[in-house]
Symmetry: C2
């Protein structure tokens, strides 16, 4: 994975997800079953939320996992279901005990990333103590669910941005959050690699102010304002 | 404040804010100046975000402070400005030092709530260490800013809900996040006291399912579905 990530200039997390989905896609093709059920639970959702928050997730990055998603992987449309996102790990363990179910512990659970383990075993209990024993995980889960649903709504509201240029007066008339989402979709559509919050804000400077007229973006791209339009300029080959 | 809060059945935070704004309104009237500049800075924003997250802020509760707001207090329209929300405390301290400015330390800063102090002095440094020295505060600030702007957008999209009833088919056709915001505004408009996430979800059950046809709400109110409409029933006097 480390090698794959380096080769493709991606983070290990992204490379891992792609490898995992690729594996699912192969099985799905072989077995002719395109629905995959995964067992992420409420505690996973809470840890993912905190992880994204502390690492500085950008637009949509905070939204966490959805109960249903579709992915096109190696030409296969994978339908992923996560039916346990609202169930706590302790509830699952208790159910297994009462029903006397046999189960397998994924070996990666134990070796699971150090930072995530510390979030679960040290940070969350500490925050709970700080708030007088309040069920802080439940609070965070609720916020994650609200943010997830709002992200879904806003994403549906923002048309895909497949045009060559963006109109500056149009953008200027829209709420800041809408400008951000449109700019992000536009940068992604044109293949600007991993645009972050600071890049989006830099492009927004072109909208909000008369200076500068050009900003630099990742991968040698830049954005320019000319005659009330935003352009992207491709990197030299 | 404690007495005021008890009398009006409110949290101490709410009572404190009302008392503060009331004080501002009196001065504003006396001095004929309706703009108030307050000095909340980026660290305050980050602490407020975490505080709201851990306590389980509901809809909009995560959005934190805005750079500009307007409040009608005791008949006075107060315009509040928070120009320092993007500036870190350390930058302010440094500026004061370089410019040799005189300043006053607010006595409440030292006695400032225990939990907030612990968030600032214990929790944040610990999280930073956990993420290898990454500037976690900056990450959280960025997320808070994204959430704030999206909340503003969504709030503008949700019309005020001043009607007697809500149409079930209309609600059902809308994204979950929109249903939640509309129901919240509707409950608030009719005076249901402090509706929380669980109450909103209970009302959404009336929309999503055929059973139950009635749910209980705070302050002895309840919501009922009848002939494809949601009603609120007032508490008996």
């Amino acid at each position: 994975l480390r090698k794959l990530a380096e080769e493709q200039g991606e983070s290990i997390e992204t490379a891992a997800r792609q490898a995992r989905y690729g594996f699912f896609a192969n099985i799905a093709k072989k077995r002719r079953c395109k629905s995959v059920f995964v067992a992420h639970h409420a505690d996973d959702q809470v840890e993912t939320f905190l992880w994204n928050l502390f690492r500085g997730a950008g637009q949509s990055g905070l939204a966490g996992m959805s109960a249903e998603t579709e992915h096109i992987v190696n030409g296969v449309a994978l339908h992923m279901f996560r039916p346990l996102l609202g169930i706590w790990r302790s509830e699952i363990v208790e159910y297994i005990r009462v029903q006397k179910l046999r189960y397998r512990e994924d070996a990666s659970n134990a070796s699971h990333d150090y930072t995530r383990n510390r979030i679960r075993n040290a940070l969350l209990p500490e925050i709970e103590a700080l708030f007088g024993g309040r069920n802080v995980s439940r609070s965070i889960w609720r916020v994650a669910e609200i943010v997830r649903a709002e992200d879904e709504w806003l994403d549906a509201l923002t048309q895909s941005e497949s045009t060559e240029t963006l109109s500056v007066p149009d953008l200027r008339a829209q709420p800041v959050a809408q400008q951000r989402r449109r700019i992000l979709k536009w940068l992604r559509f044109h293949g600007v690699p991993e645009p972050g919050f600071d890049h989006i804000e830099a492009v927004r400077q072109l909208v909000a102010h008369t200076e500068p007229a050009k900003v630099n973006l990742p991968g040698n791209w830049h954005a320019r304002r000319r005659e009330k339009k935003l352009f992207l300029e491709k990197p030299k080959p």
